[in-house]
């Protein structure tokens, strides 16, 4: 890495990678979280005494979890796209400077 612009580009690349990891990671974690939780809810669902309550809890739990993970995922996506477009603009500016 040579020059401040190259260094900035490199960090923007790292930001994009980490943010993409956050975006995809949140989606995958949501699936892991919900599917593991479903194992417990399935057990509670076969017991008549806990069935009505567990169904209500399941809806609330899954709803809150979805909103939380999707928010993190969306934030990751926005940051990743922002970093990618900033990196592309910087690369174009460097190319223009090289040509002139």
């Amino acid at each position: 890495m040579k020059g401040p612009d190259n260094n900035t580009q490199w960090w923007l690349g790292v930001t994009e990678l980490v943010a993409q990891g956050m975006h995809h990671g949140a989606v995958k974690l949501k699936r892991v979280h919900l599917s593991i939780a479903d194992e417990s809810f399935r057990v509670l669902d076969v017991i008549p005494a806990t069935r009505p309550g567990s169904r209500l809890v399941r809806v609330c739990h899954h709803g809150i979890a979805r909103v939380s993970y999707d928010s993190v995922s969306l934030a990751g996506r926005v940051i990743a796209e922002g970093a990618a477009s900033a990196g592309a603009r910087l690369a174009m500016r460097r190319q223009d400077m090289t040509e002139t």
Binding site: G13, L17, G87
Partner: protein, 303 residues
């Protein structure tokens, strides 16, 4: 005194590791972490249109690293300016010791095509006429050499007519057990009817095309039949083993840690005529890239 790697060096290593894992995706996104293919002489990147090494020799010795590595993998510990190339240059004379850096996550055949074109430009623009080429590949680098030889011959490149010496050091010609294991684990987990296990399989599946190619030693474009070794060139194979006893169970299970001896020799490939085979029990996969015994063997074969 403890040597502390510079911030630039750390960044290069991070780029190399990221490229190994996700190099094809990074390249597709135009992410600056994707490592561009570059040739180095004495630590300086060469301009392929006008290469100006300090002392251009008529023999080119190009060292090609493996997955997630940088060209520094060739340097002997505590002797950063010494590697197999410089040892050969000292013995042969009139030799330029070069190193390649590339994005190891790209499909091997695409890197092979680019390497073939790069060698053609390098030989055409080299300040003195090139008389001989020595290609030394560690791990994935060896597969890259086979690929470049195939595409160089297919495109009638001039460098191929110099009948290069090709050295494959710990190269998984028949695949690496770890890459095969990852492939099988991902396949199994993706079939399990539990979402949390499928996710683990999907995460393993995120690995780059370069890593996928290592599960079978794929060096050519998909759909291409297996290609023979470049005719006229001399091909040498070097393998390592974790334990000193050749038949030690650890060696049977893990080979040099990543590659079995049989895979390094390309036992499953038909019609291979090798000019030399050497095995170094007690030398693991990474140390194969900078070991005095390997250097000595290269001197015997190539000098």
């Amino acid at each position: 005194m403890v040597s502390v790697p510079s911030a630039g060096r750390v960044q290069q290593h991070i780029s190399a590791i990221a490229s190994g894992f996700l190099g094809d995706w990074l390249e597709h996104r135009g992410n600056p972490l994707a490592v561009p293919m570059t040739v180095f002489a004495d630590g300086e990147a060469l301009d392929l249109q006008n290469p100006q090494p300090a002392v251009p020799g008529s023999v080119l010795c190009l060292s090609i690293h493996g997955l997630m590595e940088l060209e520094s993998v060739w340097d002997f510990p505590a002797r950063p300016d010494e590697h197999y190339g410089t040892h050969l240059a000292n013995t042969l004379g009139d030799t330029s010791a070069l190193k390649l850096r590339f994005n190891t996550g790209r499909p091997i055949y695409r890197n092979g095509q680019d390497l073939a074109a790069l060698l053609e430009r390098l030989v055409s623009n080299w300040p003195v006429p090139v008389k001989r080429i020595v290609l030394i590949g560690h791990s994935m680098g060896g597969l890259l050499i086979r690929s470049a030889c195939h595409y160089g011959a297919a495109n009638d490149h001039r460098w191929v007519s110099l009948n290069p010496d090709c050295v494959y050091i710990g190269s998984p010609h028949d695949g690496s057990w770890l890459a095969v294991g990852a492939h099988k684990a991902a396949g199994w987990l993706n079939r399990v009817p539990r979402d949390y296990l499928k996710v683990v399989g999907e995460v393993i599946d995120l690995r780059s095309e370069g890593i996928r190619n290592l599960s079978r030693g794929d060096a050519f474009e998909p759909g291409t039949s297996d290609q023979p070794l470049l005719h006229g060139a001399r091909h040498y194979v070097i393998s390592g083993l974790l334990a000193k006893g050749e038949r030690h169970p650890v060696n049977v299970l893990f080979g040099d840690a990543l590659v079995h001896q049989s895979s390094a020799r390309g036992d499953r490939r038909e019609g291979w005529e090798l000019a030399g085979i050497a095995n170094f029990p007690g030398v693991d996969h990474i140390r194969l890239a900078h070991h005095p015994l390997v250097s000595q063997q290269l001197q015997e074969w190539l000098a």
